[in-house]
């Protein structure tokens, strides 16, 4: 079993169960990796952010993350092209994948 520690702390102070630890059940098997040369897809690298309101996406599907008051979104249709966004949330670097 591969233990994936997703958050560093336990949050049982509120009397609720800890949901921060996840274990994957399938061991890594290097023989089942297919690789291609880099550059097939172009990641989004530190794109300039603009307010989502007014961009006219309407009913378009978005994926988003939030930290405190900071919310960053990406159109699903754009992520279906780029697959990886190297971006920031609240000043911290993040990677978003699709």
């Amino acid at each position: 079993m591969i233990t994936l520690l997703l958050f560093s702390g336990l949050s049982l102070a509120d009397g609720c169960p800890d949901v921060s630890v996840v274990e994957a059940s399938t061991p890594y098997d290097a023989s089942r990796v297919w690789k291609h040369e880099p550059g097939w897809f172009k990641p989004l690298d530190d794109p300039k952010g603009v307010p989502l309101a007014g961009e006219g996406y309407g009913d378009d599907a978005m994926i988003y993350v939030q930290a405190g008051d900071a919310v960053r979104a990406w159109p699903v249709a754009a992520m279906a092209y780029h697959h990886v966004a190297n971006d920031q949330l609240g000043g911290e670097p993040i990677v978003v994948t699709y």
């Binding site: 997703l6 169960p17 297919w34 989502l52 159109p75 190297n86 911290e92 670097p93 993040i94 990677v95």
Partner: protein, 256 residues
């Protein structure tokens, strides 16, 4: 990628920022490489499985999904990359795919999979993982129920789908040490939750927007909107939700 699974992680390891690019396939979903060390990472779990950073784990950030108009209403200050920085590729909804294609994958994807059974590969749903327990909620079951209460391992969870879309999320039902029961309601024109114990209303981001719990937030559990094959490849012991509907739409709330 082809399984429509999105994830997000903090991109810092041992104080160093990493940036990533997609370089291949493992377990039917893509593998990414960090440009700083060349290590290979799973975009599904955030674990490095080859290279100098092998064994490292990126910190998980829960990625949510919503229609833009709802996101703007709930988070007016949300930002998005400017359009000119992006290219777009529209893909047909998975639920609309021909059933004959639901078990097909390109050979370079299929050869990276372990043996998978249980459901057609492209069965779309929400995978939920807590500890060493994993449950997959097929999106069709979510459509039937709108709100599902279930137990993943020792944790009571509530799962909600957003108005017939493939937008779904899962939370722990525990708030301040007490397990709440939830019903489906409409709030400000969107699907929402109402807990039976306090009649507080919780929006689709898990934020209490009305009632005694107003301002509180449900605790997200790790979940991925994905196709079955990717989930089953990473979590081969996953259960599949099959129970009957627990709750259904109970009414409409018009006050935002």
């Amino acid at each position: 990628m082809i399984c429509n699974s999105g994830t997000a992680f903090a991109a810092r390891v041992d104080g160093r920022r990493l940036s990533f690019e997609e370089v291949g396939i493992h377990n039917g979903v893509f593998v990414m490489r960090d440009r700083q060390t060349g290590s290979l990472w799973s975009h599904y779990t955030g674990e490095a499985f080859e290279g100098p950073l092998k064994g490292q784990q990126l910190r998980w950030i829960q990625l949510e999904r919503a229609e833009a108009k709802r996101l703007v209403r709930q988070h007016p200050k949300a930002t998005v990359p400017e359009r000119k920085s992006m290219r777009f590729r529209n893909t047909p909804p998975l639920s609309g795919r021909d059933k004959a294609l639901r078990n097909q994958l390109p050979p370079n994807f299929a050869e990276t999979l372990p043996a998978i059974d249980g459901m057609p590969f492209h069965t779309h749903g929400l995978g939920v993982a807590i500890g060493d327990k994993h449950t997959f909620f097929p999106i069709d079951r979510l459509y039937d129920a709108s709100v599902i209460e279930d137990r993943v391992g020792e944790v009571d969870v509530v799962v909600m789908v957003q108005d017939g879309t493939s937008t779904a999320a899962a939370w722990s039902r525990c708030v301040d040490g007490k397990t709440l029961d939830f019903e489906s309601v409409q709030h400000a024109g969107f699907a929402a939750l109402r807990d039976v114990q306090t009649s507080s209303t919780w929006d689709a981001s898990g934020l209490a927007v009305k009632g005694p719990h107003k301002g509180a937030r449900l605790t997200s559990v790790r979940s991925i909107i994905t196709d079955w094959y990717g989930w089953a490849a990473y979590f081969q012991d996953s259960e599949v939700y099959t129970a009957e509907v627990v709750t259904d739409g109970l009414g409409s709330e018009t006050n935002p």
